[in-house]
Subunit: 200 residues, 2 copies
């Protein structure tokens, strides 16, 4: 398999985390997340009409895009994706929450501050992203106060999806001290067998 990848992207890290757990060998092709001018050529609309990373090129020639769709596909038949229909839907609920409420706030603020290192960030726009990030973290904190993991009381791809940008939320300029249940959950995820870091 070939992963169209970006080392510091949390979305790509989800896929690498999942692949590390499966033991599947794969190649990585680094795509810039700061210079997006050549993506039509580097990725192509046949591979991914949205021209984003991660995109996975399977050995049979087919392509799959969107980080959460890719980890769902790789987790099928493993303990990381429950068999029960309602629990599977709950995994999806948290993955859609991650892509709608969490990533567009925390990942974007982190990108501005930490990845692109922009010097002319609009302070009002940054504050709005950080405030949206804190709202998402508050929802997670509420859920985790009575739970060890997001779904079915065990480690699933819902945890992988939410771990990716939560564990680097401080790089988005967000103070994580108000979220003790999240802090304990981050440690539980990092202690899973086969865990790799975003820099591995």
């Amino acid at each position: 398999m070939l992963l169209y990848d970006a080392r510091r992207s949390g979305n790509c890290y989800k896929v690498r985390l999942m692949l590390a757990r499966t033991g599947i060998r794969y190649d990585r092709r680094e795509i810039s997340v700061t210079d997006r001018s050549d993506r039509e050529h580097l990725i192509g609309r046949t591979a991914n009409p949205a021209l984003r990373v991660p995109t996975l090129h399977l050995d049979d020639g087919r392509f799959l895009a969107e980080s959460c769709a890719i980890i769902w596909f790789l987790a099928e038949g493993t303990p990381l994706l429950p068999a029960d229909a309602f629990e599977r839907a709950q995994v999806l609920q948290w993955m859609f929450f991650e892509q709608y409420e969490h990533e567009p706030n925390i990942a974007v603020a982190r990108y501005w501050l930490h990845i692109a290192g922009l010097e002319d960030i609009d302070p009002k726009a940054l504050a709005a992203k950080q405030e949206g990030g804190r709202r998402a973290l508050q929802a997670m904190e509420h859920h985790l106060t009575t739970r060890a993991f997001f779904v079915a009381e065990r480690f699933t791809i819902a945890d992988i999806a939410l771990y990716a940008y939560t564990h680097v939320a401080e790089e988005a300029g967000i103070d994580m001290r108000p979220y003790p249940a999240i802090a304990a959950w981050l440690e539980r995820v990092a202690a899973q067998p086969g865990h790799i870091t975003i820099d591995d």
Copy 2:
């Protein structure tokens, strides 16, 4: 079942469209999308930590949130969700695309212009949302130029998810004339048996 609903929300419409196809009877509880001040009381964090509509309250007391997770759950075992693992992942790819690239642009611009009817919209912010919406539509147009539906050449919940806000994209101030393949697809979706409109 009880659906925490908002009549003009495309996200809620996805669930109503799916429920109409299943024939399941359900009750609707209208939640305001303009006054969100009382959601902690009206929905509650146990039902949905993100306090959003749609949220579905099942007859056994359990709750499910996020429009695409709900329609996935309702479609399981029906022809609207393929059985093949790769096709299922492709359905998810397009549903995540919808929630990340499409809805945050088109639904938000539509909300500002058409639902909330704001008089002090920042023209730069509106233009950015409309431009993001056109990028998403361009990706859809490219995909549909050689296809009748998004996945597996038949009507699936990927089509339901993308139909919801695409068929009202003009309410976001977006000219739809550059997208003939999308126009033909919108007609195919609306011609499906059991189709209902957003106002039904």
